[in-house]
Symmetry: C2
């Protein structure tokens, strides 16, 4: 999902009344970032508080190349990585991940080995349909038991009509989990596959958005968010529950018009331009996080790790392990004198540190969209946007003279500072 | 001001609490348009309910060339044009225009000849400083008396520091007018020069926005809006007052980073791409316009004329004169069964009909940004945006095969429909 997708971030289709309400009643970050340009590395970073370069979940060892855990990719998050789920499990939290795990295909990377007590979903994308013995449809698990495959049975997805029950399955399971753990404490990592392709929305929403199927999917997702929040209220535990809504990368603009919006930002997912990593970031905790807060300090998914530890009092086992990010709790709760320390945002592609933001300034050391061949296959992540020597088809080295932008005056990265 | 400038339209700098509140308490149009790509033609269209091609206020007779009333331009709106100010004056309304009139330098085009009882401001841009006898500083009028000149005395503007009292002068005068006419009926056309260049903000706001001086100017303008609304409430007449907030063209992106935001839309002012004419459109009338309305039907400044006549019961003198646009009152007040009829939006440059939007589809018949020479002088209205055969430096004729976009799925006009 892109920064420009929720109505509260300006989307003209206004498909997200429930997400907008979270923002209205909580804190909305205008300058929130994913931790990476694509999903797996970003998710690992959120759970471990460590940059992808440290967890190793980021690359196939080519400079600037992204990597994610497709079903046929070997490897995964190693046992030595400590997720905040592992940490808070020791404090008595009951943890569940629902939806797309996406942190590896090894045994040690499996959710139940990484701090989660329950799992409903898959450790890969919901790609398909696949129908041969070498590449069968992707497995769906409940805990450590396989219960089905995408595109089969209740996990169907009709690629012609766009109908799918996936998001609904994920939200209904979430309601059951919350109900069962109403006495708490619990941690629900609700990682719906939507709005990722292949696109699928519940039939209630098919054809209801002016944006086409992508918008229907956003509405379906927003409905799920609304159901979860309603359940918290129904159980009277909303004042004891910290909620974060975010995204693991920018919109998939390279897939053409059936994708999300980067708002006013340059380019989309895969890239280290603003549109690739600037995402929604909304925090909600009635009674603790004051309503209507608009926060413009830069923050990102790495900070979720530290914020959760700050809330729960959890501590990492090995203090000598380098961590990245910081707790957002002081600014979220409006502690007197709380100020977000200068929070640098790092923009990596593979092994390459492409850009850094500090304050309102962002310096690009390398720039790259996609090469001509990849563009011809996947589409252009920067369609309708072009800046000379910046939206480059080849990896371009600017380290001798980084391209510098002031994101306050020029959020669209269109006027390089000479 | 661009579509992307107010916070409620997604601007990450969040400089407009008062404008956002209008949207929250009233109706916010996501698909609102100015009536033309630059100021004078758009303003004439709003006041007369007629396209610039009919009023003649649009061109210097070169195909595709824009024209506005600079101080040294001859001509102006002719007496035969009937503004809605003229119509409602007959119904007993007291009318005043404050700020930038910009509809001509002839006697007959002067506000007091076009339906306004009072005038405080200028009939030209606040350009300057000028210091020679052939081109002196632009005159400021009270009614039909000249009371000063821009850049002199209280109308000063410090181009080095960016300090100016203009917006504050306009808002204080507005408060006096409202106070004096509290028993009504009245029509105040508050046409602040901000956020047009040269940029100037009250010293209270200098240096307060992360966007630089442009953002300070937005904050200053928003403060003026807030003062006016507070005055209506203080006098207990807010439930009897219809308020519209809009803009006469997209942001001046061609001026570089010290300008507004077109949000996710292509290019800026001067052009017929979405960013050139998509603008904020907010309607407020407590008790009559239901709060929190998000309206996605296309509408534009021409519709203001018809909406005002609908509210007041005013009628045009000459029914045979062609009019454009329609009343928005039925949808604003949520009349049962009210639906905005298919409201086409015409995108002209000079004498050229460049594009038309009907429903979610927009067809471009001609495309043009600016020629290389103009770009080298004024800057690029499409900096950071480029689509082949679309953001063209020469006027490009697509009439044999118009370039078609679906603005619901592709608001950024980046994926032409083949």
């Amino acid at each position: 999902m892109g920064w420009g997708d929720p109505g509260c971030y300006g989307n003209e289709a206004r498909e997200t009344p429930n997400i907008d309400k979270l923002a209205e009643e909580g804190a909305m970050f205008t300058d929130f970032y994913s931790a990476y340009t694509v999903c797996s590395p970003s998710r690992a970073a959120m759970l471990t508080g460590r940059l992808p370069l440290r967890t190793g979940i980021y690359t196939d060892n080519f400079f600037g190349r992204n990597s994610v855990f497709l079903p046929n990719v070997t490897g995964g998050m190693v046992a030595e990585e400590e997720t905040f789920a592992e940490i808070i499990a020791k404090l008595g939290y009951r943890n569940k991940v629902i939806g797309k795990w996406h942190l590896g295909n090894t045994e040690e990377s499996f959710p139940l080995k990484q701090g989660f007590h329950e799992f409903f979903g898959s450790n890969a994308n919901h790609f398909g349909p696949f129908d041969n013995i070498n590449f069968p449809n992707v497995e769906v698990y409940r805990d450590d038991k396989m219960v089905g495959r995408y595109f089969e049975g209740e996990y169907f997805m009709n690629l012609t009509t766009g109908e799918s029950n996936l998001t609904r399955l994920w939200s209904e399971d979430a309601l059951d989990f919350i109900e069962a753990n109403r006495k708490g404490p619990f941690f629900l990592y609700w990682a719906a596959d939507a709005t990722h392709t292949p696109l699928g929305a519940h039939r209630d929403f098919l054809g209801t958005s002016q944006r086409g199927l992508y918008g229907d999917v956003v509405r379906d997702l927003d409905y799920g968010v609304g159901q979860i929040i309603s359940k918290l209220r129904e159980l009277n535990i909303e004042r004891k529950t910290f909620v974060f809504f975010g995204s693991d990368n920018g919109p998939a603009g390279y897939q053409g018009i059936e994708s999300g919006s980067a708002g006013p930002f340059m380019c989309t997912k895969i890239t280290t331009f603003e549109g690739g990593m600037r995402v929604p970031g909304i925090f909600w905790w009635p009674g603790t996080i004051p309503a209507g807060q608009i926060q413009r300090a830069p923050a990102n998914l790495l900070d979720i790790f530290h914020t959760v530890l700050d809330i729960t009092g959890g501590e990492v086992s090995d203090c000598s392990k380098p961590l990245d990010g910081q707790s957002l709790l002081p600014i979220l709760t409006d502690e007197p004198g709380a100020k977000l320390e200068n929070n640098p945002i790092f923009f990596y592609r593979g092994t390459g540190l492409f850009a850094v933001r500090v304050g309102d300034y962002k310096a690009h050391y390398y720039t790259w969209t996609l090469g001509p061949l990849a563009k011809s296959i996947y589409g252009d992540p920067c369609s309708g946007e072009y800046l000379e020597n910046f939206t480059t088809e080849e990896i371009t080295n600017h380290t001798m003279q980084p391209m510098l932008f002031h994101l306050g005056r020029d959020p669209g990265e269109s006027y390089p500072i000479e």
